[in-house]
């Protein structure tokens, strides 16, 4: 807490200084589970300075004496960084951050069923000259897969502690904690266990010296990094430019030295390209021959499941079915609890209205607070269903399969399968979806993905869609099975998706040129059973935020809006209908002011007010309409918002304010409009400039206006309005 406030706490007497350690590993090794087991509740999330990469640290439980702080670094396959996340992980390990960490220990979490590939990172990490513990996770699966790993032999050969774990069952965690305690208390001497030939040693010498003089790397790490940059241009790049893309001054010098080193190797008839990888795997393969025994046990469960889920025909069908189920649930199955909440709110409103004496205060409470907040609370079940399914999808590993199936299509718009997961996440909320683009290595692909993410209709738009559809789309069935309501909802999502495709095209051809062709190499991890605890925790957390949000910002806005819609009060002498009165209120005046601009879209001023307030949060649209119509409504009978909207009549013309056409136009507006400041903020942070978020607001607003215009005017021309 004090750290967050920037206050430095003076060391209490006798308190030992903190020890910094890190935990790394390949993706999908259960690293997070291990981290959570080690740190329990003592976790903190922040940001690395200057970059939008999440910094996750925790304090070790049971650390007797000194405080051990553990850094959970992003998962990576090798110390050659390929994405921003990788780069941060590598920078932390090599002490290249502005605030060097001086790590005393690195725990590498490895997947025992995948030992060889995991050992690549392990050996690289060992060569940093820092103590390493190999946390060998998923040991239970090794037996199922017919793998027998001689842990003692492995430990002997690597000369480091190897702790077998089944992290998600808590097995081995104690031993790991013990090992951590032991190592952090002793002095460490690096004992090299692999050797490099003399020729290579000679060639590396100048590069190694350069690192010793120009970086924080110790002797061992300097050799290892020298070997790495010699072998890989990508590794070298990491030292030539900093995170913002500008060149380091010493870059030219380093480049020259490396070039000469490579020439010298070629002179000895040794090919420098990817030398490190070949060299390491040769050692690893040799070692695995002794320590790992394999026996054939046939297909794993994942492989069998994938026979269906990525099957040529069954795969896409399964995909459609899965998303149809999710769709159905958030629209139809959520209906029962939603109606229950709606009735409760109405009942509550009635009770309060009967209880309070007539007057201003009652208006505030009933028409402002309860109407506004109640209108939003109704949608809680939908949100929960959405998150339930998305969490399950992500937790099982199915998302990777979606990326696998969709890559072909993504290529068509200039992206890759790597964009699929961020875009799918954006259907819940664009902010984490945009953050998830950090795994996209190619800057252009990443930028385009970021820019189109907001078109994936997020969960905040759901209340608006649902309200409009429930109120104005007739409940008929097409072809006997498909409900028109469901189809309309689907159409809204499709409008978003097709608009995204269009924008991606524009970017591909006109805006940003690709520097080099992007690749799509992705691991298809084994399926895992989603942890019920984790799923419900996510639902609970999200539900909590939804309700808190409703209780705070939406409540505040509803109150303010109530005030604006109720004042100035008309002269008591004249008998003005409430509908007239509200037009003379502040809200009415503001609304009438902008009405000319939105009239071509079929929107009246009340909708206009909603468009303004929905910039706070899209779902506020619903609250706004609820409050305004409640203030206007003279009687106290509880009528659902749907009914209110259906009955709304334009006081001048007497015609209904809302028709199905207007409802659709409004929905289309919401699909395309950029109304979320949080999104604008995250785009600015992730792209490091104002250029992109500002253009996004501009073109999205334009698209929203034109879209709604086409729908409304076009619809009228066709006689639909």
């Amino acid at each position: 807490m004090n750290e967050a406030l920037g206050i430095k706490k003076a060391h209490p007497r006798g308190k030992k200084p903190e020890i910094e350690i890190a935990i790394v590993g390949n993706p999908n090794t259960g690293k997070s589970t291990v981290f959570n087991a080690l740190t329990g509740m003592h976790q903190k999330v922040g940001n690395y300075p200057g970059v939008t990469v999440e910094k996750k640290t925790g304090v070790l439980k049971n650390s007797n004496g000194s405080k051990i702080r553990i850094h959970d670094l992003p998962g990576l396959y090798s110390l050659v960084p390929k994405s921003l996340d990788d780069k941060i992980a590598v920078d932390v390990l090599m002490d290249r951050l502005d605030e060097p960490q001086h790590l005393k220990l690195v725990i590498v979490v490895a997947d025992a069923t995948n030992l060889a590939r995991n050992l690549y990172l392990v050996t690289q990490t060992m060569d940093l000259g820092i103590p390493v513990i190999l946390a060998l996770n998923m040991m239970d699966i090794t037996h199922k897969r017919g793998l027998h790993i001689d842990v003692d032999k492995l430990s002997q050969k690597l000369n480091i502690p190897v702790i077998p774990l089944v992290a998600n069952k808590g097995k081995g965690i104690e031993e790991l904690q013990e090992a951590i305690g032991k190592i952090t208390r002793t002095e460490y001497q690096y004992k090299p266990i692999w050797k490099i030939d003399n020729d290579i040693h000679e060639a590396l010498l100048p590069v190694c010296s350069w690192y010793k003089n120009n970086s924080h790397l110790n002797e061992t790490a300097s050799w290892a990094e020298a070997l790495r940059v010699l072998s890989s241009d990508k590794a070298l790049e990491n030292w030539l430019t900093n995170k913002n893309g500008s060149s380091f001054e010493y870059g030219i010098e380093l480049k020259e030295i490396v070039k000469n080193a490579r020439k010298s190797l070629e002179a000895h008839e040794i090919h420098w390209h990817m030398f490190e990888s070949k060299w390491r795997y040769a050692w690893i393969d040799e070692m695995c021959k002794d320590s790992v025994q394999e026996s054939d046990v046939g297909l794993s469960f994942s492989e069998k499941l994938d026979k269906i889920l990525t099957h040529r025909i069954a795969g896409p069908i399964a995909f459609v079915l899965i998303f149809a189920v999710i769709f159905q649930s958030i629209f139809t199955w959520a209906e029962v609890p939603m109606n229950a909440i709606e009735s409760s709110v109405q009942w509550f409103s009635g009770q309060v209205a009967a209880f309070l004496p007539d007057g201003v205060f009652k208006g505030l409470v009933v028409d402002g607070a309860i109407a506004g907040v109640g209108a939003i609370l109704v949608f809680l079940p939908q949100i929960l269903f959405l998150f339930f399914f998305l969490t399950i999808l992500e937790d099982t590993g199915y998302m990777a399969r979606v990326a696998f199936i969709m890559d072909r299509f993504m290529k068509g718009v200039g992206l890759s399968g790597r964009s699929v997961i961020p875009l799918l996440s954006s259907f819940a909320c664009a902010v984490p979806g945009i953050m998830a683009t950090r795994t996209i290595q190619n800057w252009r692909d990443r930028l385009v993905t970021i820019m189109i993410a907001p078109f994936m209709s997020c969960s905040a738009r759901l209340p608006v869609y649902t309200l409009m559809i429930a109120a104005f789309i007739p409940g008929m069935k097409i072809l006997g099975i498909f409900s028109l309501s469901g189809l309309t909802l689907l159409s809204m999502y499709l409008v978003g998706i097709f608009s995204a495709i269009g924008v991606a095209y524009v970017f591909k051809f006109f805006v940003v040129k690709k520097q080099r062709s992007s690749t799509f190499v992705m691991e298809l991890p084994p399926y895992r059973v989603p942890s019920p605890k984790w799923v419900f925790l996510q639902m609970y957390e999200r539900g909590k935020i939804f309700v808190l949000n409703a209780g705070q910002i939406i409540l505040a806005i509803s109150i303010v809006l109530w005030f604006l819609a109720s004042y100035p009060k008309p002269n008591h002498q004249t008998n003005i209908a409430p509908a007239e009165a509200i037009q003379q209120s502040y809200a009415g005046q503001i609304g009438r002011f902008i009405e000319p601009a939105i009239e071509p879209l079929g929107f009246d001023w009340k909708i206009g007010i909603g468009l303004i307030t929905s910039f706070a949060a899209r779902e506020v649209m619903v609250s706004t309409l609820a409050t305004i119509y409640n203030v206007e409504g003279a009687d106290e009978s509880s009528v659902s918002l749907r009914e209110e909207l259906r009955n709304a009549k334009n006081p001048q013309t007497g015609k209904p304010v809302f028709t199905p056409l207007v409802a659709v136009a409004l929905m289309v507006f919401f699909v395309l409009a950029c109304q979320c400041m949080a999104t604008v903020a995250i785009v600015k942070r992730e792209t490091n400039s104002w250029r992109w978020p500002i253009s996004m607001v501009l073109y999205m607003t334009t698209m929203a206006y034109i879209g709604a215009l086409i729908v409304y005017q076009g619809g009228k021309l066709l006689g639909l309005g």
Binding site: P27, G30, N47, M435, A436, E541, A681, K684, R685
Partner: protein, 52 residues
């Protein structure tokens, strides 16, 4: 009536300040994550998806 109105307007005033502060913060603190986004379960989900 008088007290009612005072209380009501007081509440409205607080709401205005609260909403106004949050609104302006969105623009002035663009570089900091919004608290609701930072603590959002989705955010954590997306992160764990990358790092798992």
């Amino acid at each position: 009536m008088g007290i009612q109105e005072i209380i009501t307007f007081l509440i409205v005033g607080i709401a205005v300040l609260f909403a106004g502060k949050k609104f302006i913060r969105q623009f002035t603190h663009v570089d900091q994550e919004l608290p609701k986004c930072a603590n959002c379960a989705l955010n954590k989900l997306a992160q764990s998806n990358i790092k798992r």
